[in-house]
Symmetry: D3
Subunit: 340 residues, 6 copies
């Protein structure tokens, strides 16, 4: 089995039950999530060997987080324990015209405060085929940009494929900081996942006449963005997720994979949303899985889009679904008939 490693922050996700607002809540559903951890769980549920690297506080909250990852089959053996706290994000689910809200309370987390000494990349990357991180990891500040580069260098040396999801978070760093760090890190990256909005925010790369709020980019626009990214950073592949935000309840969803030459668009799903957080991460995992398993570009983008379509119907950050379910959707399922 091929081995993957993802590296980043995982947080406690606190969410009022159902459609309650935070101001109405008397309890919070407690799950865990974070871009790179979500990818690891997706890969593990797709039966890959998926290690997640992070630093967790050595208390019941940190251990609970580790246990949850372990439950889904993630290899947690390289997780470091120490530091002060697990970051938190409060998530309020939107509906119809009311948007979902996320409040981050992640400053001072064990991983954000971690140091280079915490991670032995040589050991971590032993026998590994793929390394994935997102733009959130360096954005955590402290030593994290440096640590990310150390990880990338170590991976590169071992010939490991590196993927990165741009994932710009404006509350974590400025566009300038992001551009500087990500431009540096992208030189190690083989496969970049982005959307047109982040591409514009971080690198100033956009398509002519794009209108992002409305989600109305033309196919040509997406291809143009992908091409520019490819050229700028010498990437092998660029994947873009295409979300049409009709409302908090209904979205259009598809993806595009550009292999340096050609662009492949997946079919588009109109989704009644259960939980859209982690949609992009499940797309990334679907893509990594596909590429590691030698699917063609067109198969890969269909698999990634279908996997992430299913994610939108599942509560929590994690895409708890099987390979068979994704494949069934790719093959034309999705009509919702009961499996008896």
């Amino acid at each position: 089995m091929q081995k993957t490693v993802t590296f980043g922050e995982i947080m406690l996700r606190l969410q009022p039950p159902s459609y309650e607002r935070i101001l109405q809540a008397k309890s919070f559903d407690a799950t865990f999530g974070g871009g790179e951890a979500n990818v690891a769980v997706s890969l593990a549920t797709l039966d890959m060997n998926a290690a997640f690297v992070t630093k967790l506080p050595d208390n019941m909250i940190g251990i609970s987080c580790r246990n949850e990852l372990r439950k889904w089959g993630v290899d947690t053996g390289k997780i470091v324990f120490g530091g002060d706290r697990l970051g938190i994000y409060y998530c309020e689910k939107g509906a119809s015209q009311r948007a979902s809200n996320v409040i981050y309370d992640r400053a001072g987390s064990s991983v954000a405060m971690s140091s280079s000494e915490d991670y032995d990349w040589n050991s971590i990357f032993e026998g590994v085929d793929w390394f994935h991180f997102t733009g959130i990891t360096p954005a955590l500040g402290g030593n994290m940009p440096e640590i990310c580069e150390q990880a990338c260098k170590a991976a590169k040396q071992k010939g490991i494929t590196i993927s990165c999801d741009l994932n710009y978070r404006k509350k974590l760093w400025s566009r300038e900081e992001a551009k500087k760090s990500m431009s540096n890190l992208c030189q190690y990256v083989d496969v970049l996942i982005a959307n047109e909005e982040d591409s514009e925010s971080v690198f100033g790369i956009s398509a002519p006449n794009s209108n992002i709020e409305g989600g109305e980019l033309s196919k040509e626009g997406y291809i143009s963005v992908a091409k520019q990214l490819c050229d700028t950073f010498k990437l092998k592949k660029v994947a873009i997720t295409l979300r049409k935000s009709y409302s908090a309840s209904i979205n259009g969803w598809s993806g595009m994979l550009f292999d340096g030459k050609n662009a492949f668009f997946s079919k588009e799903y109109t989704i009644n949303i259960v939980d859209r957080v982690g949609g992009g991460d499940s797309f990334g995992a679907g893509l990594i899985y596909s590429l590691l398993n030698d699917k063609s570009s067109s198969e890969a983008i269909e698999f990634a889009a279908a996997a992430s379509c299913i994610k939108h119907t599942i509560e929590g950050d994690f895409n708890i679904c099987t390979k068979a379910e994704v494949e069934a959707l790719v093959k034309g399922g999705g009509n919702g008939r009961v499996n008896r």
Copy 2:
């Protein structure tokens, strides 16, 4: 009041709360359900005298099941207690492109292991007007095909109308077994309820050029299926449910009644689904109710379709709704204004 009897298995239904997947569940909502029991509850809530016949284990689970039926007004006086266990089915509710999943754990149930001696049909059918069962009952195996035939014979002798819902379950028996048993039993049946898929699976009776997955049968196709069934088994009436599975969240729903000569199609409802399990059973009950109350064919199919439309908005197997609610929908309600 006219009396009905239904006979079959009722199971404990275990379902994760809300849209949780089984792999995420920490508790299960516990209800009871099964094709024939669902029909009995529907008839009872429509103020009919509805007895349900089955065998339940003589423990708290079996008694709990009996009590639940009693709560909804079903006559439970003919239920036999004994045997080892109540069958279970785990039900995971789907959403959008993710289908609902059902896992059966019903082998060895008290009713499936029951014997002819458990049921005194002469006494059970005392003063009864209508007998209903489904294809699931003989599919339970053991002595059940034989017992079903004994029930049919006893009903026939007393001049009781017999209806059957074809309900093919591929996990319970093969097409060959189903065909053999159901062909035999259908000779006693007056009113057959089916859908085109089951008709094809069990009897090989289909319309030309049908495309069942997509739910795209033409009106002529349904009429053709009904006519063939009528002719083959000398049925008085055949009713077909017409489901358009757009997704696990949204379905089109209507019904057709063929009275041997003419076909009557109900209006079609586009439904935001709360729970579609038991939809067919509520249709059957609506039909039985209508026919027992001398509604015309066109009224009957509208009533049955409206009743089962409402079922899709109600949690659990049972169609907990009143005659007045069904009639209001038939008369053009369904706009969802609040009844104050």
Copy 3:
């Protein structure tokens, strides 16, 4: 900060969880609500000084209700304690073709049995800018019509703007009683909120060829109704809510404001409904807020419609949302992207 006073009944709202029917419920979610209280909470969450006047029983239920209002920032200092009970309404949430049901159990409530002596309007209206009540308040019977008139007179004397939401409740009084009382009270009113259905029920004022059940009134029809109301009662403004009830799950929603001369229609929202109870009240509050803050007629109706659109996505009677959220929707939000 400008001060508002609303006067009326607040009830305990008991609702089965999720989409359960009352007949299935083993617990009730317990919130509080009532037309005028809902307006007060909306105004308070929009950062207005909002007092609510009522009479509550001096027991844990009444105190719980007071505390809940206090929580949302409503000024509860003028609430009178005494009498026998808090009125209750049971609310069963509908879905798709199944309508929501409301069962009132409000007879004999402390406020319905209250007397003129309970309320010192001179003190209550000290420094107040706006007084709001609805047609439900006089419909409670007993001394309430008289008390409403006393309140209106006292408000008028102090030069306070008075608004009224027609809100006809056929279970509380007949059309004749309503017409008599409301015709009398409307002479004090400056701003009337109504829908075409209530206008017809109470005053017999309707547009030609209207079809209310279907919600198909033409723009001209609404203007005609507003104009007639304005002329009949010498109103300054009339606002009308325009609901298109497609089903219990999906509604169209917009509003119209007529300023005596011109009519202003808001944009129309297609809403996936979470809870539509209190929709009209949140519209009223949005309107009052806008007019007190010198918005133009066209701004006011957009703000009111957006505020009440958001209400439909929030559980409970109260519109728990901020000014910023409403303004964002007015400005073209509503696409449901996550606020991170």
Copy 4:
């Protein structure tokens, strides 16, 4: 099977979950209960034929209540539907030094407003062996004292044994009213159930030097009270429940049966309380069951005390337990070993 009838009010019981106070509650657990209904359910779960007579509102709340009784096997065929509302009681569970609180909201209930014409006692008492009511029923006011007397007379004429639980409720009537009514009704009673506190409140009958708050009455005191009651009303039997209220969490519990000559004391249980509401009613049912089944006085009091001991460990008003469980406790169980 011998038949029993009980007559009185059943209410909706609303209780915050777990040990929450009403002021903290965001939902209420919803069950049903009332002295005579509790007795009926107990008798039905002890496999007796138990009819309950009352009047319920013809809405979903009333039907829900009927269905719940039906679930437990109570014969609900003689329940009358009509009137305005189901009475409610809010119940807050105490713990340790904090007492449980009950808030009644029962005025104007369908049964309290019912009239003599609602009940056809001749038909109700057809084939009945035992009639039971409590002091709460006449205390409901209106026509209820008169209706109770009509019931008692009809029962007497048919030779039916009559039992009454004194159950004084100071919020429903004064001592004087209670004395007048109960003295009249007690002339029909064969078996009176009381505790020393109610005996004192209603009839002024007490033991010398009793200290009720502390629960410290001597055996001689209880016998004296029973004897006086027997003599005053020509009763055949008097049963007294002996509660030692150490705290809201721990009680001592036993009972005494006086057969006119001799007094029989049950063993005393020290109980970790789950829910003590309905404890007295389950005692009454245990006694009625025992006497109808020809147990000796000493067996009867042990059975009644054991049944009601178990009630204290069960949530809700109803004593959901089997004959076998009661008998096992009588025989020396109660050590709490797991039944595997």
Copy 5:
């Protein structure tokens, strides 16, 4: 009405439902609490005018916290909004031999990072009679020791009575730091609340031969500690809580008040614990209430002990109980009879 001010941190309290451990939790009950806020809520529910001063983040979590305080009647008008986050504490409820666990995640909270400029003590203390804080407030670090002293000085100048609960938290500061700060602040204090353990930890003041773990201090020992504290800091009064920790489920609880000359011991309660967090705070509030209302020393200690006894039976940090309930317990209640 007399006015009180308390100053300190309030946190979000996250607790697994019932007796679940953190490692088992899938949701957290969410309440708010903190020593000084708990005192403010207690005083407000005892109908005092109680202001709480703190700094909260200006997001939905901070506003939710403010709203909750407002719900209970606390004056929140002096709360400052700003800073980064609300502190959190995870609380796992123990049972029997398993202790409760608290995990603090409070570093970097808005209040801990606040500056002198955030608080205008002259305005805050306008018309105030009593100022209360605990040893936790200066222990938060940053500018808090200095701000506490500023508050004390301002209070002293206005002749406001000052009370302090020693509340040593070893995770917040060392014994040395605590001694230095608290020795300084205690010179402003009139009434000190402590237990023998904290007295020893902070000031090294203890009774001869004390055995704190076992809770076995003699009456003389407690008096000795109080006397030493009084003498050292020129206090008017010292109150000590006396907890006997038999297990996490059962505690003995009483209090002692030393008025400089005489010591008054309350009666001792044996408590079946629902939630013991906040027990000391409710004691402090009971004491402040008593002293502000001119109760005698012996009445005051009984009231304080009874109030805090009740707190142990209530979920959450806050002592949601009425004056009447406390007084009833003082007068000999606590037998747990139902209040009907």
Copy 6:
């Protein structure tokens, strides 16, 4: 780290929330448990390398069970997938005089129907130090007695220490069957765990004058039983759990270890029970842990008794507690003071 293997059945445990009875339940809390799995989880949470061997159905229920074990750190790599179903047990929690009830629905489970080919003991026992099973495993019938013997033989050959918990289940097999099988298997066993009741049931070995129901065996009696067991089966050690069942809410609990020569009794705990299921298994795990870590007999029995004391305070079959918590209790904790 030393490695352990346990082998047996794990079931889905379905339990009504809180103290609800099965007849009242509308949902079931869903956990997993079974004697040998419980031991494996305990060992894993004590930081041992603990593999659990069983056969699970290859569906979402079986995978969910595997994931749960994985979450707690159990090595699930040797679990076999296949067969028809996961066994179930319904568990109703008792209180006070009402006993807990367990209903087994385990017939036909994947593990009970498994064959010798399913388990490759040579591979399973690679590098293993300790093998543990209980009397339940052979009692499952089918090939299980034979498979157990194969496992024992393989373990013996590799010099692995073997422990067995007698655990007689009368619903699974007769005393005669148990005696035959267990006598055979015990010849391989080094450490036997039993209680006096099972010893009597299976082997007819008892102490003179024992009174098991009352839990009143003398120390000498226990020693006599242990000695007889040791002698009969050439055991190295016998451990006995000593439960005093005062009620379903309160138990006395201690243990005894007999090393062939001397008997060591632990201290006795009086426990307020949260959940006593799995108490014996946690004792076994504590013992295995102690013996594998070279604790003395007296230390070992104290550790085992303390570990299982804590289990009684934790919901579910699994003893989710840390080594540090057990050690703290051994050292004199248990007073329930909050760990802050």
